[in-house]
């Protein structure tokens, strides 16, 4: 049974990429995927329980980085596979990958979802084909539901986001098509306009360009732009008016050298370097 926990095969794995990619990027090899993962790591608190769903690369990396640095008591539950505290041995592109079973426990998927719906999550990660200024997300249909322009995969687990204490949104595409004034379908409910109900919207938005949070009124606000990104880049690629911070817009902290080294220990295929197109 000694090899029970080793994946036998790994699709798309190029054993040389670890050495190759050193020169592919300037700026110490820091790609937007690394910055996003580090930003997520910094946003997590020790002892929290996280639920991660489909397309998990960036939250996986951020959570594992947090475990390896300031949050050793953090628990990460890997959506599809059911792995609890996967070591990311290695970081794999699909949430259902066998690699995610190099872990401490493996839960049946319905239990993962039921625990999440039962309120066991401190942090939930979500995204959308569309995200609007209140944090509403759409994974179902762009256009009307009757006359669909773009058919997304369906709402997946994100309708239950408010069952977690905090939701962190992430997307690898910060464009005006994603960040729209109003989503066409609410898969995940954002902050209530006017604040009438008890539901709460997302806490943080992590993109390849910037970090955003929400004002007390529940509208999206710029927190910082990533190194090498201008404020204009962010504004031009957001389909609504972001609330801007007063004074100079801060720059998102870059991953430190230690953080970059730690991410390489599990990102054997260099996926974080290529995750943002």
């Amino acid at each position: 049974m000694s090899d029970d926990y080793k994946a036998k095969l790994r699709a798309g794995s190029d054993p040389l990429v670890f050495f190759k990619r050193e020169d592919e990027l300037e700026d110490g090899g820091i790609a937007p995927g690394h910055t996003m993962a580090a930003a997520i790591s910094h946003a997590l608190h020790d002892g929290e329980t996280l639920f991660v769903g489909a397309n998990p690369l960036i939250p996986f990396a951020g959570a594992r980085l947090a475990q390896l640095t300031h949050a050793p008591n953090l628990t990460m539950i890997a959506g599809a596979s059911g792995g609890v505290n996967p070591l990311l041995d290695p970081l794999a592109p699909s949430s259902g990958d066998y690699a995610n079973l190099v872990a401490e426990a493996v839960l049946p998927f319905q239990e993962v979802l039921m625990m999440f719906m039962g309120g066991h999550g401190d942090v939930f990660f979500a995204g959308g084909l569309q995200i609007d200024r209140y944090g509403n997300c759409n994974l179902a249909t762009v256009g009307s539901h009757e006359k669909t322009k773009l058919r997304g995969p369906g709402s997946a687990g994100i309708p239950w986001a408010s069952r977690a204490r905090r939701t962190i949104l992430y997307t690898t595409a910060h464009t005006g098509r994603v960040f729209v004034p109003k989503v066409d379908f609410v898969s995940l409910a954002g902050w209530p306009v006017g604040g009438g109900t008890s539901a709460h919207g997302p806490a943080l938005v992590v993109t390849p360009l910037a970090l955003m949070d929400f004002t007390p009124e529940g509208t999206m606000r710029l927190v910082s732009v990533h190194a090498g990104v201008s404020l204009a880049d962010v504004i031009d690629n957001t389909g609504f008016d972001l609330v801007l911070p007063e004074g100079q817009v801060p720059t998102t902290p870059q991953p430190t050298t230690e953080e970059m080294i730690l991410m390489r220990t599990f990102d054997l295929d260099g996926l974080l370097a290529i995750i943002v197109p």
Binding site: A54, G96, P159, T197
Partner: protein, 304 residues
């Protein structure tokens, strides 16, 4: 301890091992509903799905959850399902589902019910336990789902608190197709990796067909029963078919074939390409061996 009588391997205990044609022939030509196991591109019983398509099995309702990929695509593209309950249909990081997109964006006779995997799994759990419906936790009422699918999500009053709550009707699929890495001839199945929600599916569905990478002896099952993920009485047929999940993964046996899947997604972005794919990989190969031969020698150049 004592020697167990030989009857543990009693010759008259019926083996459920069947050839794939015979196993799928157990399904009536038209069934109420189908739920296919696995999740995303993992542990999906594709060999059974392809055989269902070859035999033209029709299903009133297909439950696309918790996350369906190629199984939903092929069944919808082949016109074998009338109503699809959508939890998630897609190829995760590989991209959106091309047939699903085309059917939804250009219109089709399929009725899509916008739903979510959490509610679908609570409904499946309710179906397993004989409950008529499953109340939902709070939260969903703030999304577009209940308004879009008023037949799937209904409101009721919690008899204990007087608060309103949403609920979904119990799901008891007529047919459940699942993949286990191993099983004995009686249908005791072992998941060597994630079981996803397939253990629950096996307990809830009326007729369960199981494909496996290979058979193990009943002795091996008895040696470590804590490992058994599907108890035999829930299984109507066991179909050994190596690489039967291809192009999806089978945990601990092989990963998904992302090259094949990407080429599928490209091909299936047109009606012609999809038809060509179906001819080559579903209707063409007379058995799994021939299917794998075609996969290995895949020449996609002439695919539309």
């Amino acid at each position: 301890m004592v020697d167990t009588p030989e009857s543990v391997e009693n010759p008259t205990r019926r083996s459920k091992v069947l050839e794939i044609e015979a196993a799928v022939a157990l399904i009536p030509p038209e069934s109420e509903s189908l739920w296919v196991g696995g999740m995303h591109m993992h542990n999906v019983p594709m060999a059974l799905v392809r055989e269902c398509i070859r035999q033209g099995k029709r299903f009133e309702t297909f439950f696309a959850g918790p996350s369906s990929s190629l199984a939903a695509e092929l069944l919808m593209g082949a016109g074998l399902v009338k109503r699809v309950v959508v939890g998630y249909i897609g190829f995760e990081q590989l991209g959106l589902a091309p047939v699903f997109r085309r059917l939804a964006e250009q219109g089709s006779e399929i009725r899509f019910i916008e739903a979510d995997p959490g509610s679908m799994l609570l409904a499946l759990q309710a179906g397993m336990a004989g409950q008529q419906f499953a109340p939902l936790p709070p939260g969903l009422e703030n999304t577009s789902l209940p308004g879009t699918s008023p037949d799937f999500y209904r409101q009721l009053v919690d008899p204990f608190t007087g608060k309103t709550s949403l609920a979904v009707q119990a799901i008891k699929p007529s047919v459940g197709l699942i993949h286990c890495q191993q099983a004995d001839e009686f249908g005791n199945g072992i998941f060597k990796g994630s079981m996803f929600s397939d253990h629950l599916l096996a307990l809830a569905a009326e007729t369960v067909l199981m494909q496996v990478e290979g058979l193990v002896s009943n002795d091996q099952i008895l040696r470590y029963p804590l490992q058994t993920g599907v108890p035999s009485m829930r299984v109507a047929a066991v179909v050994p078919v190596l690489f039967g999940c291809h192009p999806c993964s089978s945990h601990r046996y092989y990963n998904y074939d992302d090259v094949h899947l990407r080429l599928y997604m490209e091909a299936a972005s047109s009606d012609e390409g999809f038809a060509d794919y179906m001819k080559r990989f579903v209707f063409g190969p007379e058995d799994q061996e021939e299917y794998m031969r075609r996969v290995q020698n895949q020449d996609w150049s002439s695919i539309q």
